[in-house]
């Protein structure tokens, strides 16, 4: 799609806002609807859009596969690790109440960190799935005349 000027410009304009909206959904999840799952998908959409418009190779140059893989693993580690930290602080596994000076703050902090882990993993997984499928067989660019 490299010669569609309108699409290229609009995509460039949209992508920052998509990323920003993803972050909003992620971190406003404490106070309203939102959270890691939704935010992760929205965040990944920005990369998918970029890959669709500018080609898979360029997108892969922006986030190489090893970063995606690391992102998937790190997200899970953050989630599970929060539980382990709680265990070391004297609570049960995943008991966030012990993370801060009083239980409500602890729960707040715990959910905040865990949702970040979820968001990171979901975003990485979505991008990884897209790259895995788009990278097989025919390239998207070649099919478009």
């Amino acid at each position: 799609m490299s010669h569609h000027l309108v699409i290229r410009v609009i995509a460039k304009l949209l992508i920052p806002f998509i990323l920003l909206f993803g972050l909003y959904v992620q971190f406003h999840g404490d106070f309203g609807p939102g959270g890691g799952f939704q935010a992760g998908v929205i965040f990944a959409v920005a990369f998918v859009l970029y890959a669709l418009v500018y080609g898979l190779d360029n997108a892969r140059r922006i986030i190489p596969d090893r970063y995606i893989r690391a992102g998937i693993a790190l997200g899970v580690l953050i989630f599970a690790g929060t539980g382990v930290v709680a265990m070391f602080l004297g609570g049960n596994y995943l008991d966030y109440s012990v993370l801060a000076h009083d239980p409500p703050h602890g729960q707040h902090l715990g959910i905040f960190v865990v949702e970040f882990g979820v968001g990171l993993t979901v975003a990485s997984v979505m991008v990884a799935i897209f790259f895995a499928f788009a990278g097989r067989g025919h390239k998207i660019d070649e099919k478009e005349g």
Binding site: I72, A73, V76, A80, G81, G83, M87, N92, Y93, S97
Partner: protein
């Protein structure tokens, strides 16, 4: 402090190390980590069993939320026993894995293999330890998804179709279970298994509960490969990498059987399952058919992994037969066979992995003269085969003996005939193997020499264990009897 957290650590340790394996990146580091973790998990499961036998049921509140609102990990004699089996097999198989994985899976994918392996182990342990019905579904899917990956790593392209078929069957099975859990939640308003059991007892006439029972029973029968829902199993076992076959054959179906036991005996209770829903005859007919059909088909297989896979279908029949009696003796027999079959089938598949490592094939042709070329491996296969038949002084005999006792005790002596017929069929397929290995000459230029010691030792540990527990039955029968008494006592 650490002892109170054992139930959580049992799951968390392999769960955390799975992503670490990805981050490490190097196959050797990932293997080292997986090895340490699996043995640590085994250690935890031994400690847990000790705690349960000394002090009774352990309850662990995940996140500090009290049951029935929060998720509870609940360890009682039944699942402590299953945890030990899964963890022991997990540790032995990973010890064995390095050369086999390097040969069959190839570089570049090894770290991902260890990650999937750890995730699969996490899922299986999670299913076993959790006291929450929905949590069972989640862990079941974690273990299933990673086992689809593991199976599809096989060298033959048929591994892909086998994996796909397993995915379809497995997802339908798990989703049926999910529907059952949903219906039960509608009827009882709780997901905690202990709480659910109390409430279901008052709702025996409720049609929602009965429908839930049907959905869960069918869904789990698919996951456990109970005849006639076993169609996914033979190919999945035959074309998966050797390590994966050994691991899944010894653990995955066992854990599904465990969930079946939980569902029948703990959630719904023996009275509801066996009197209101008359499950006993259904299970027994299916079990007997599985024993006969599985053994018969096994006789005609030329690929030894397929042969053993059909034999697994038959052996699952034995376990379910034990449950069908719904007496302490019968359930003891079923639970014993769960343990014994894990030992012998795990050992047999590991031995076949050794054969494949050396000869590159596990067809009956490749076995010719193997008794002289790989004496130690072949001796292990013979012990495993004798155990499959149920020759005295092997574990196979002990569990069949309890099944026979249970049949006579329940006044259903005619079942003993089927057990004997199925054992005779087992003699036929084991004999084919022995004949090829010892009585046929080796083909010209056939590769000879033993597999590496790393592979041979775990195989022999399982085989020696299957002889040891066949002679000294105090530990295994003792634990299985306590588990059976607990199950039948808890429901009444």
């Amino acid at each position: 402090m650490i002892t109170t957290h054992l139930p959580a650590l049992q799951i968390v340790v392999p769960l955390v190390s799975a992503p670490l394996c990805v981050l490490l990146g190097k196959a050797r580091l990932a293997y080292a980590l997986a090895l340490i973790v699996c043995w640590a998990v085994f250690g935890i499961s031994v400690l847990l069993l000790g705690q349960v036998l000394d002090n009774g049921v352990i309850s662990y509140r995940l996140g500090g939320w009290a049951p029935p609102w929060g998720i509870e990990y609940r360890v009682d004699p039944v699942n402590a026993y299953v945890l030990l089996i899964v963890a022991a097999i997990g540790a032995l198989v990973i010890t064995y894995a390095k050369p086999s994985v390097a040969k069959e899976i190839g570089s570049g994918r090894e770290t991902l293999f260890y990650t999937s392996y750890l995730l699969c182990l996490t899922g299986l342990l999670g299913v076993t330890i959790t006291g929450d019905a929905f949590n069972i579904f989640v862990f079941l899917e974690i273990s299933s998804l990673s086992s689809y990956v593991l199976i599809s790593l096989g060298q033959d392209r048929r591994a892909l179709t086998a994996s796909f078929r397993y995915l379809i069957f497995g997802t339908i099975g798990a989703t049926f279970f999910l529907i059952g859990v949903g219906l039960l939640y509608q009827a009882t308003g709780t997901l905690n298994i202990a709480d659910m059991a109390n409430r279901v007892a008052l709702l025996a006439e409720n049609r929602t509960v009965q429908a839930a029972f049907a959905f869960m029973a069918v869904g789990l029968a698919v996951k456990a490969a109970l005849f006639p829902l076993h169609a996914w199993l033979p190919n999945a076992y035959a074309y998966a990498p050797s390590v994966v076959t050994a691991f899944l054959a010894a653990t995955a179906t066992k854990v599904s059987i465990y969930v079946l036991i939980r569902t029948y005996f703990t959630i719904f209770g023996p009275e509801f399952s066996f009197e209101v829903m008359t499950l006993g005859p259904v299970l027994m007919v299916l079990a007997i058919l599985a024993m006969l059909v599985g053994s018969t088909i096994a006789i005609f297989q030329d690929d030894l992994k397929r042969l053993l896979a059909y034999s697994s279908v038959a052996q699952i029949g034995y376990m379910v037969l034990g449950l069908g009696f719904a007496t302490v003796l019968g359930v003891t027999g079923g639970m014993l066979h769960l343990f014994n079959h894990a030992l012998m089938k795990g050992g047999l598949f590991l031995a076949l992995g050794c054969v494949f490592y050396r000869t590159g094939s596990v067809s009956i042709e490749a076995m010719k003269g193997l008794g002289h070329r790989m004496p130690w491996t072949m001796a292990a296969i013979v012990i495993g085969g004798l155990s499959l038949i149920g020759v005295p002084l092997t574990v196979g005999f002990v569990s069949k003996w309890y099944l026979l006792l249970a049949a006579i005790d329940s006044g259903m002596w005619w079942i003993t005939i089927f057990i004997l017929v199925s054992s005779l069929l087992a003699i036929v397929y084991v004999w084919r193997l022995v004949e090829a290995a010892y009585l046929s000459p080796s083909p010209e230029g056939a590769p000879s020499g033993e597999a590496p010691l790393v592979m041979l030792i775990p195989t022999w540990v399982l085989m020696l264990a299957s002889v040891y527990f066949g002679v000294d039955t105090r530990v295994s029968v003792g634990v299985a009897t306590r588990a059976a008494e607990f199950l039948l006592g808890a429901g009444s």
